[in-house]
Amino acid sequence: MRYQRVVLYLLLGTAALAMMAPLLIMFSTSLKPMDEIRGGSLFALPQAPTLEAWGKAWAGRDGGSGGLSGQFVNSFVIVFPALFLSVGLGSLTGYALSLWKLRFANLLFAAVLIGLFIPPQVTLYPMIVLVRELGLFGTVPGLVLVHVVWGLAFVTLLFRNFFQSVPADLMKAARIDGAGFLAIFWHIMLPLSLPVFAVAVILQFTYIWNDFLLGLTFSGRGSQPVTVALNNLVGSQFGEQEYNVNMAATMLAALPTVLVYLFSGRLFVRGIAAGAVKG
């Protein structure tokens, strides 16, 4: 029995190392100067660690262009309004769908659920036309709009599944006391759904921050999110690439969502499982 435990921990440890290795290598690469990268092994630790690459990744080369700082800020400017609008709209929709016995509610829910699986490429071009007609193409509000549209299905689903489990008596009691649609939502259902709310916020933050396709399609010069800028930075260099800068830039772009994940832990897992199981 004893040696079985040892084997178990060995296997798990190896797996954990395999999962962590790319991240550790990325980090160590970002601290190396270029000649160390050229001369040394991928696995070697940095001999003379320097934050120079991080500075270049953030602010650009020689104080010039190419840094990610601007797009990093853009991403935040896009994420927060999109996050609050989509979670607000999704929670309200989920609430109305599951707790008010409306005709066609099931039909609408089915339509929303299916929407979760439609590849964005299928509706991409019409959406471009819509956003362009609204005069929002290439702007932050335009990006916020498309994120709200494409995030609606997921958030609605999350809240609908939660509200579905709210006892009917609670609704009845609230209505007997004369509370209206919004009052019940605001004073009873929202406080009740705070955990789901947190899950929705965390996951929407992650999804919107990590988005690439919508940023690539709908952003302009001043509204480019960090994922798109990162891909351009790594893809567009001529001659020899500065791998340390690439790796530092990659880590910078990954940092916000990784931090959110590390600090939210359980909630992230629950959301991913809940959202996943249901659709």
Binding site: L89, L97, Y125, M127, I184
Partner: protein, 315 residues
Amino acid sequence: MSHAEQSRPAILMADGGAPAVRPRWRLAPLTAARIALIPAAVITIVCFYAFIVWTFVISLTRSRLLPVYDFVGFDQYRRLFASARWWTAMENLAIHGTLFIAGCTVAGYALAIMIDRGVRAEGFFRTVFMLPLSMSFIVTGLIWQWMLNPVFGIQDAVRDLGWEGFVFNWIVQPDRAIYTLAIAGIWQQVGLCMALFLAGLRGVDPNVWKAARIDGIPTWRVYTDIVTPMLRPVFFTVFVLLSALVMKSFDLVVALTGGGPGFASDLPARFVVDHILNRQELGLGAAGAFMMLCTVVAVIGPYLYREIHKSRGAR
């Protein structure tokens, strides 16, 4: 919620009826509920379904840079099916999909079982395995592009260790590049499968384990013969989820290989975006997009049908 409230006259609870006396300015609650659903309904009907129809219509025209509505029947589909690049992309989707789904499922299930054996530091292992999930596919793609770089990456590092002839340059081999996609994809998504399987394993009735122990059944037999069949719904969910991810795979291939070398690791999602955004072949791109939708319907349709049926029954 208290019993006193429930014993009030039932007439007040009739559907649609608010209490008899209510302020005039307030909407009837059901009307308010209907109004609240308008944005979602508009978005769903217009941005999902009307736009699908629109894309289909465009795919029947000769549109290039901008949509023009002179219909050419299924010409764009004929062009699509005659395009070698499209078939490479579809073949890659099949290869990548199979490897990715199988790899994630097997590795995720194995990790979940190991963690479920009551290990210490469970939280640590779970956090580590799920960490890549929080990162963008772009980030994952760029990390692995670096790891797989033939000049500086794993190949070089292993040669430095003494295996001079070690070759691991798949990312620049046209017939191997597609496999690197599965490596990066599995690395990123295996944590999701692990979490789903772990939740499933934790849901198994402890009495099953007690009974198996009393009968003296070895642990591995309990997993293969009893627990795994019980988790069939979880396997199904994992399959559907990963399929949806595979069909949408765009970012990962853009960041990891750029579809290259040439178009050797292209995927349908990239084919479509490339034709719509860069190549001014709107009609052809729309046709490709519509074929993507058909693929999704074929694979995920049955699951959705069941899921929607179930939620109706529950009401």
